[in-house]
Symmetry: D2
Subunit: 486 residues, 4 copies
């Protein structure tokens, strides 16, 4: 089998996108379907929508894309109601069972309770063990279900108090959209690690992971939900509470590097503009004498435009991307063993032959695809191949809802710049600096003590405790100790 995604499979993957609407008369489910479609890049494995029609909750969840599952009349008609939320999911664990697909739903004593979650609870395992010990029965392996059981077993009386009680016990990253018979609650963890924005469409109130989903449904962008804020919506009325201690926000910087769509505006910065600015900064920090600037499609395009404009080297499409991509293809027999894998991307030979090219990509994770793409340029006759990366070296795992390989597989965690350059067979390789990245976001530089963003994947500076991870690490160390003793 040959994978047909030689380049895309070497990215970090956002795990989820969420979208909710309240006060949408009879079009809530249709709006959520459109919104989730616009957020599909945040999770392609599964999708789900839950609606509330004033009396009953309705849920449809499916493996696969929004289109194909939620674009059929009968599916949408089976999801009546003026309030709805939805979720697209990319699994970190390989556990793809439908019961893990969100929104999760439970019937509590107070009535139905649905939740869509973007992020990751970093003490979910510890909380789960304790809940099971006391008699809770879990349906899924999802960390999100922990929140529901905390609400169900809370000793507080009102649902809102029970929910706040639950959130105070969890640690990590979460943007949540919750539906109960009384209304919708949208909230963002105290550090605002994952994004969440609010919009209006007529009287209807909308929440979404990115502004592009507001654009697609024709809604007006109002503002971001604040870190630590709970927005409580009943019909078209809303109010806000902030039940957590004040904390300096630390939104994920990788949203601008790769996760968010270029046409989204995340926390007041146009993603496209930031990416172009990173490219320009890269041209300043890491210049090269060359004939063509070539983006690795499609995520490298904005940075490549920035690089080209800054450097004066022409921007050209040196790699053509097929629109018709399957999963895998049978490998032809021995005789034709050494085929390049050009199902998804193919070199524009006529353009490249004899030229010195600068390839622009957004990031390097394992490095395997950078290697393939450099080789593809050389096979097409490039005279020199220079790789420029529009982010700092990715050296650390993410525990906040992003699918990262274990550290041992991160190229930059193992090799220095020289060795990485050799590994991918490039003539030169350059990354933008961490300060350069902050500059593209309008800062003077990264402030060491109190940085404005979560940049743990580049710096290892995690903004929260990591209970489950530390417990596992402890066990591993004990195991190690025992091994040594024995």
């Amino acid at each position: 089998m040959l994978t047909t995604n030689p380049f895309d499979d070497d990215h970090l993957h956002e795990e989820c996108g969420i979208f909710g609407v309240s006060g949408a008369a009879d079009s809530a489910a249709a709006l959520v379907a459109l919104g989730l479609h616009a957020l599909q890049h945040r999770g392609q494995e599964a999708a789900g929508i839950t609606t509330f029609d004033g009396a009953q909750f309705h849920t449809h969840r499916a493996m696969g894309h929004v289109a194909g599952n939620f674009d059929r009349d009968e599916v949408i008609r089976a999801l009546p109601g003026s309030v709805a939320c939805g979720h697209v999911r990319y699994s970190t664990t390989g556990e793809t069972a439908l019961r893990n697909v969100q929104p999760l739903y439970a019937e509590l004593a107070s009535g139905g309770f649905a939740v869509a979650h973007n992020g990751n609870i970093s003490n979910a395992m510890r909380l789960r063990r304790e809940l099971v010990r006391r008699g809770s029965i879990f349906q899924s392996t999802s960390d999100t279900e922990t929140i529901i059981h905390l609400v169900a077993t809370s000793n507080y009386r009102s649902l809102l108090d029970r929910f706040i009680d639950a959130l105070r016990q969890v640690e990590g990253a979460y943007s949540l959209i919750v539906m109960t018979p009384e209304g919708m609650i949208a909230c963002r963890d105290p550090l605002g690690i994952r994004p969440l924005v609010m919009g209006k469409l007529g009287d209807a109130i909308i929440f979404a992971s990115e502004t592009v989903a507001l654009d697609v449904v024709g809604a007006e962008f109002v503002r971001s939900v604040d870190p630590g804020e709970l927005v409580i919506v009943q019909g078209t009325e809303m109010r806000s509470i902030r039940p957590f201690p004040e904390a300096a926000a630390r939104p994920c910087i990788f949203e601008w590097v790769y996760f968010s769509r270029p046409d989204s505006i995340v926390d007041d910065h146009s993603v496209y503009s930031v990416r172009k600015a990173i490219g320009a900064q890269l041209a300043i920090e890491s210049p090269v004498d060359a004939d063509l600037v070539i983006p690795v499609p499609d995520s490298g395009v904005p940075a490549a435009i920035g690089y080209a404009q800054q450097s004066g080297i022409p921007f050209e499409l040196g790699i053509i991307r097929s629109h018709y991509v399957g999963r895998t293809f049978i490998q032809p027999g021995d005789k034709v063993r050494h085929l390049g894998v050009k199902l998804k991307h193919n070199a524009n030979r006529a353009l490249i032959a004899g030229k010195r090219v600068v390839l622009i990509d957004d990031s390097i994770v394992r490095g395997t695809t950078s290697l393939k793409i450099v080789q593809m340029m050389r096979e097409a006759g490039a005279a020199e191949v220079h790789m420029r990366i529009a982010s700092p070296p990715t050296k650390h795992s993410c525990f906040y809802g992003v699918d990262t390989p274990e550290r041992a597989k991160l190229l930059a965690a193992k090799l220095d710049l020289r060795a990485m350059t050799d590994f991918i067979h490039a003539d030169t390789l350059g990354f933008v600096s961490i300060d350069g990245l902050y500059k593209a976001l309008g800062e003077a530089a990264r402030e060491g003590v109190r940085p404005k963003y979560c940049d743990a994947c580049f710096t290892g500076d995690y903004p929260t405790t990591l209970t489950d991870h530390d417990e596992l690490a402890e066990v591993d160390q004990f195991a190690l100790l025992e091994e040594r003793v024995a």
Copy 2:
């Protein structure tokens, strides 16, 4: 229902792509699957592969894409043999039954006979009527089947003579790959209207509609099959005959405008380079004072780069294309009726607001999508919107294997430039001239008497007779006459 392809549905569509291989040991079907995948843009409705294992023919045909149908091990294993051909199809007629999917296959007295066809037989209806009258029974509504029945009922003795006898009776455009127990025959009609190239992979001989399919399987490009040439292959041996009277070639010029992939080389011209040259020519012929050059994704990109480089106006991604496109989506209810349709494309608002933009597209067919995209730019706050089209006005139907709307639906057949500009709500509109198009292909200008290309869709100058079309027109006129008399 809203379509999610607001822009793509306003293109002419190539009907077919073909790929054949001989002498490929046990990997023929796998190579054809890879090759067809690379030709998927030429036909997305259905695909088929036929192989010959020395004793028996094997065929698998399916509605839908190559990926998803021909990337599974069990499908490829059920297609043994060292000789194979395949076909991707886009239907002109709406008749999508599996029995029309190619390769077509029949058992003749001489043994099995399979054929994959790109093009259109313009006297197929007249030939079919005569064949049926003599007792032939057709399985499909495809014009291609006519060729098979002509071979089956020919009075010549050898299969090759019967095949040539058949071809001499057909008129129109055809690139064909034929398989018989004795070998493979590839041929191109006397005018070479549709493309066909030849390649080598080790000893194996390959035929394909475009060079990109050679790239994807790792094969070396040898040359184009000549107009009027039959290449006869037995195993890895080949010879060539030219049974038709000499005629000046007239390859389809729209292959460079839109049909072929930018990374293909068609009749010695890089498609990407030609498109950039058209864009540059357009900047010369139709300049405008503006802030941004924005391609209509993805087909407008090369011309936009050419336009930007020629004009000095920066190239920017002002329209973002979703990678996750479904067919259609439910339209939300009354309250949100006037949503823009941004499922597939969305304006990059932060970039566009307040700017004068030049939109570059490859062609205008009905004009409906140009209208939508101009509106999308205006809604995103563009100060001025100038549309530039990298081909002359499309005024005439194609009868050579391209899906064109009837003339009455072609915008340029109905309106002059002023009216078209108004129709799409642009500030200005410009097309490249027919001579400009020939210039981008290295000619001085279009030579009126003996033009080098088939450009009938722009000029109405059809290079062959059109028997079926003329007969229908006659009937229509009679009908009209009768109506008047009555």
Copy 3:
């Protein structure tokens, strides 16, 4: 739409069959699949199998029959282990979601816990309300899940004690097969309302709803599980405990009338022999002068043979049953509106014309199909049609795991014998008496104070309290009261 089951849809339906095996090396799942197939008549809506491989539990559940879902190699191979249990289900509620299909499974603090249940917990709703109030989250609408939550939240320490604690709180009918990491527990409620037998196959220990399932897997019948007995199996070892107060058994008498297969032996009585004996008793109690004894296929056959042998009237196949039965068929248009519905059964006209026939059926529920079948006989030319029923009139609902229509739809609850005879258009109608039914089981008569069987559907004498039903009735009466006051 015409239903094709004109006769079968007028039966009471057993809701479930269960089958478990322990100590079966690597064939546990295959044995359960075979066993469930033999129990398919007890539930056709859905089926499930859970296995334990020493480390992990594996479950596959599917809507539909065992054959078609559990006869595929890959399904069975995905269910490894030497311990397994399974379930076939017929829904009472119309709730057919997969999450209600058994075996139900939960991860408790003590490890995995799977349960397959035949019967009905008659205080499940009350227990559930209380559990939810304390924070339990239910996944299904099944009464069986109540047992799992009672185990999960029990204050006892050992799993066995927690399970007994749970059972002591439930009321109603239950034959259960439970799997935990420590082994299998099979048990039957204190009155033994639903059946459960034990068998051996080599060293493997087997539990099943009926002996026919033992026959089909080649196992030897050992004995019935006693009412109130828990059989605890670890590998091939077993022991028995009886944690409930002694109570006189009351197994369901309808198992002999209709539910069990004729080749099963239920509590020491051959089902076939009992049915023949009922038929003979019916010939004594309700004789008639006639030419032919005709069974309503297939359930009326044994009683018809008994009736024929006792009466001396020849047994003949007067109704032919199609083996190819679909769900429903389109009704042809107006012109042919009054078609008889003979898709499933058809009169053997040549036999019946001019004859006096005795029809033998096992029971009458709504009476709709008796009417149709009498009409079918008359249309085929029968001179007289006498209906004889091999059970007493069915007048009361069952709350112990049998799908009964509400009382208002039971023909015998509304009409006396004369009116029923008129309703079904028969010349005469006769039921066996309740004492006659007990006689066929070897008793002298039904003992009013201490009857040996649960015969509540005939007598209204329910052997347990019916908490949920009584609460609902109370609510209904309150509603009624309020209505009257208002």
Copy 4:
């Protein structure tokens, strides 16, 4: 894998059933669906319906049963028209492709032509070779398509003359229903080998393989179509022609033995009554001292009733048949290897233990299932097992549309009575005599020179020449000769 049809797979199989209706307003397709359902026992592999709405033909064909494919509203609605014919098919060749499913359809110069065929053309291969030589292209491997090409290439002028011209060239067995734009033609081969009856439903005229299909649609039986008769129907008008030389009829006697449903009347004889008469004749010819007469379900039941009534030995259900039969089941592992295969049939142990049983079956083909069933009786404790067969020994293949194993696999072609008795492990074995079979049909005996039925499977006396078979045999003999010489 274990087959779940241990008994049924040892039967000869009728290959087809056909049903047609003309003049049925808008219900033609629905009537055909009902009729085909009633004929499902004649072919379970595939089904098809073709309708004509006055302007166009519509066809739907599907692998599988009528129910499940033709009981859905949308399928029937897509088959408009007042004229329709349909076909159920059991393949003899293993070629199960959809293109072989009937009705076959072709567009001839005279318009659409559909045909449904029950029988087998015994010179189809010779005719096909000649047609292909002249340029005809076949779509299927079906012998029926030969008829269509003969019509298409006939030199006669009118369609009726062309059809008669075609039939005069074919040899073998055929009951045909043909649809053209001008009407329906039903016909039966000159010997009337396969059955065909005519009925009326209001004004609509109906043709069907068996009367049971008339019963099921509520139609009145009119008469059998005569051997050699063509019935030509236009709307509700009909006329009859007999274009063949007179010949004594030879209808297939196996229709009464097994193929037809017991509730059908074939050529004036009730199938049920004939089967009972065979059973009675068997009791006279082959008596035995025993306790129980047990039918092999379901086809042995009528003969068993006849045997029991004649002999005075009680009729009992000693074998219980499951209604839920799948195709195959995984065989459990080594430990339980020697399971009896009781998925479909199970011994009624309580009845059989210690008894002397007479098993009644309709025929023996390979004998494999007779062996299994005798063993099942012995395992259940039968004291003696006597097998009686309600037909003479099956010694010869059928070439008239019945699926027979090659002669070498027919038990009675290889072994004498003693050896057959030993092979199936019975105490005694008896067949009804060929004269006894004719007696059950009201004849004095089989008349050797001019027998009234085709009984070639018992006698080897084939009523037609067998061109294809003889040519193959010749080739085989040549091969044999060459082998000897070499």
